[in-house]
Amino acid sequence: MYSNKKVFFFAIILFVCVLFTGRLISLQLMSDKYFIESVKNASNEITLYAERSIIYDRNGKLMVFNDVVYDLAVIQKKISKDLDTAALLKILKIDKKTFLNKLNKIRNPSITYTLIKDLTPDIYIPLQENILSYKGFFIEQKTDRRYKSDIGCHILGYIGEVNDKIISKDPYYKQGDYAGITGIENTYETYFRGQKGVKIVIVDHKQIQRGSFKSGSLDSASIPGPSVHTSLHYDVQEMAEEMLKNKIGSIVAIEPSTGEIIAMANSPSFDLNEMIGSSRNQKFASLLKDPYNPLFNRAIKARYPPGSTFKTIQALIGLEQGIVTANTTYPCRGGYHVGSLHVGCHAHPSPLDLPNSIAKSCNAWYCYLFRDMIDDSAYASVADGYSAWREYLLSFGLGIKTGVDLPNEGNGFIPDTGYFNRYYGKDKWKSSMILSLSIGQGEIGVTPLQMANFAACIANRGYWITPHSISAIDGYKKIPAQYLEKHQVPIKRSHFETVIEGMHSVVAPGGTARGAAIKDLDVCGKTGTSQNPHGKDHSIFIGFAPKDNPKIAVAVIIENGGFGATYAAPMATVLMERFLAKTDSVFVSKNPVLYERMRTAKLKNFSQDTLR
């Protein structure tokens, strides 16, 4: 009977053997799970952050660069259960609640998460000394933006932490990364950000590094963003911003032959130097609350009635449609009076031919022209006439996005026939009802960029190139093709010469902006004094220089600045003179009084509703 019992023992041995073997099969052979887990255990992925592109002006002058900053990062999964939280909090100088809140934001516990950004030296130094005692925590070296001066904030733009939307769209980003939010930082983000690298290191159970994983064969270096030359002219930009101080307004200067933006200045504006490091969020919040809305890039978003500057385009359309010639005259008896309709005009000789109508800015002349264009019997209806007229405007880049390389550009506003149909009733409106459009008033809204762009188009005698703020990216032969597109206006070159003839007399004795003249500066331009519902007229000027082979086109809008000749025109000529001066010599203006007067002028009429 006893010997049967040995079978029991054999059975037990067999059972253990089979049990163990089965378990080993399931652990070792059924999946890669444990192998992957052991690799994750033994290695840490260290992100090598790439330096963002360094930004220069068009002449190679440094505008934006980077500085090294240190962040505290964490892989939540690797935090030890024995973490001495109190000691860590003491070094970090934050309270437990804040700390836990930050930890709770982590969604993926196995990847690196930036916990505290831009450590100040008094935190960084003791933390660096003790970081090994805090398993799972480590210090990451990154770079943050630094700015040479406070100019160009709207065009350069700021960077900020990526949000969930950006992360979900582009797997390149991780929680805590920076990306360009506005300006060219945003548009050219994929260039500017460079390429993050990765270094995988072997770590032991205490997270102490023990050399590189697989001899570094999986590592990749970070590639800094390529150096970038903006098309901005540092000095012109700086002067433009100086002159805008204590005023509300916008200045845009474009190189007509290339579409490159030489300057784009807004007032009010802000200082990018205050938008760095840990103060970024706080500063941003205060800027958002500022009633003058300094973050608003009015140059590409704000709509202004173009006022008399619009007459240049009116004349061009009239010429192209054959309604008028250079010699056509319309009478002006202190304005345009038909029935009960009166459009006033200032005192000037009458009648005027086309070039003189521009030089003297005769309102009546353009009322007649507009009526003749819209009510032209060549069209079946007023609406058709209006539509044809509107098409010309669109071809100048008005009422549509110019396609500038800056985010959130506004369309401006050129009403279509539908707009008037809704307002007056279908076929119940005629040119006399919308006559104010002829002199750039009424419903029309144009952005400062659109104004500068159509000035450039006139300078080019019939075409414009998509405005853009980048002239070169290192390592790339060309900037992206969409910013080099040429837009032809369906108006003959000779008509442009006729209008330019008129514009040439504006900043000249007898012209409306004679006071803005600078010796040796061959300016063509047009003033505008645009009525608006927000108070005193806006002072507006568009123009270019020199007349032949133009190098710079400028649009200036000074809100509630009064006559175009008062502020806008002198500002424009000052900037033109500065741009045309040789860059390698010290600049001395031939009319230094103008710049001083503009710079020091104060328009204390900031009111909230003029800003939107």
């Binding site: 006893y2 054999f10 080993l24 070792q28 192998f35 887990e37 052991s38 255990n41």
Partner: protein, 435 residues
């Protein structure tokens, strides 16, 4: 006394195959220890390191083994009770002169040398138990004899439990197998195993509200009632049968509904270790850290392993107690399934061999001793490997011949070689007293 019957000739035949297995295991152990403490920057051999100490103890063990082979077999029979008393006293001494290691008050510390007397107490217990069972005329047929044998087992169990050494206590309890071989009715083992199965079932269903409209406990009680009923039907109901079945049913019912009470007496970490095994809780950081890292180490070995000295889990110290209780992790991570399976087979052969050898003994003493040795190795093997691969709750006991530890290597060597010597001498014994 049966041992007076030995012939004074030299018909010794040592079984070399088990010695070969022993040597192989020791060598695997030394290499595994070497790998588990390996530092790439350190010199390749350092006398301060555990592998060197293990090598020295291996040398001592071989010497002692040789001495045992040349010792008169009768000595081991005669010293049985004395060894038991001395070694139990030595174990008790830890309460007064001992040191605490890993929470167990079970060690002596002499300089840098540590010794766990419980390892040797196993030897004393097996010797004493075998001597009693091998004593002329002693049979497991009286309550008195059962009481004595259980006393031999339960005294050391009590002591090591008091030392907070649950693992060793289980090892001593495994000597029940010896009693089973010597006449303990199967029903006790059956009840024991069925308790284990019921516990496993209750653990696995502890999150289940009901099965077949019944709570798991009610269902289990019903099943046991049916099984007992069927058994009762086959053995024909007589008065004695009905009483027995009723007693059994009561015992099972008490166990099923009372096991929670006993379970709740366990310490919190012990409960967690058990719940981890059943997958009732997930933990990779706290109580479950060891188990998780151990499973990752073994699992990441895959088919062929990461190669000698290339295990990351063990080299980078993610696995705790790499050279002692979790030594199998180092081995399995670096040799993969092929190496691990070969190891399991080798150990299985070793255990099988011990049963074969025990069965061929001519004396009750030698056979009892053989089964004692077998039971101890089986339990160490089952609990240690089972713990690393996650089928046994974490219980810290060494893997004989593999785990680092001088006293354990020496104790297991002595334990084994006394049996090898007894086996070698079996032809000189007259099997007058065998069942």
């Amino acid at each position: 006394m049966s041992y007076n019957n030995y012939a004074n000739s030299d018909r010794t035949s040592i079984d070399w195959s088990i010695i070969l297995v022993y040597l192989l295991l020791c060598i695997i152990g030394i290499f595994s220890i070497y790998s588990s403490v390996f530092e790439p920057e350190a010199q390749w051999f350092n006398f301060e390191m555990p592998y060197a100490k293990q090598l020295i103890f291996f040398g001592i063990s071989v010497f002692i083994a040789t001495v045992i082979i040349y010792t008169e077999s009768t000595l081991f029979f005669h010293i049985g009770y004395i060894a038991f008393v001395l070694l139990i006293l030595l174990t008790l001494g830890t309460f007064f002169f001992g040191a605490k290691v890993h929470g167990a008050q079970a060690w002596y510390k002499i300089g840098s040398f540590q010794m766990q007397p419980a390892e040797f107490a196993k030897l004393g217990t097996v010797l004493a138990l075998s001597k009693f069972l091998g004593t002329y005329g002693v049979r497991l047929d009286s309550l008195k004899n059962y009481a004595i044998t259980f006393l031999f087992i339960l005294i050391p169990v009590g002591i090591v439990l008091a030392q907070n050494d649950t693992g060793s206590a289980l090892v001593f309890l495994s000597l029940i197998f010896v009693l089973y071989r010597f006449g303990l009715p199967s029903i006790f083992l059956t009840i024991g195993f069925s308790f284990v199965l019921i516990f496993i079932f209750l653990m696995l269903t502890s999150r289940t509200e009901q099965i077949l409209l019944l709570s798991p406990k009610i269902l289990l009680t019903l099943i046991i009632f049916i099984i007992l009923g069927i058994i009762g039907y086959y053995i024909r109901f007589n008065k004695k049968g009905i009483i027995l079945i009723s007693i059994l049913f009561t015992i099972y019912t008490i166990f099923i509904f009372g096991v929670d009470l006993a379970y709740n007496q366990l310490k919190e970490y012990q409960k967690k270790r058990i719940e981890l095994i059943f997958g009732l809780i997930e933990d990779k950081k706290d109580v479950g850290y060891n188990l998780w890292q151990s499973k990752v180490a073994i699992g990441s070995g895959q088919m062929v392993g990461k190669g000698f000295l290339n295990g990351t889990q063990t080299k980078l110290k993610f696995v705790p107690e790499r050279s002692t209780d979790y030594i199998f992790c180092t081995y399995a991570e670096e040799t993969g399934f092929l190496g691990s399976f070969a190891f399991i087979l080798l150990y299985t052969f070793f255990l099988y061999k011990l049963v074969i050898m025990s069965e061929r003994q001519n004396t009750r003493f030698a056979r009892a001793y053989g089964y004692g040795v077998f039971s101890i190795f089986l339990f160490h093997f089952f609990i240690n490997i089972g713990m690393t691969i996650g089928i046994v709750p974490t219980i810290g006991i060494p893997l004989p011949f593999i785990s680092y530890g001088g006293s354990s290597l020496l104790a297991f060597t002595i334990l084994l070689f006394i049996f090898i010597k007894l086996d070698g001498n079996r032809s000189n014994e007259v099997s007058v007293d065998i069942d």
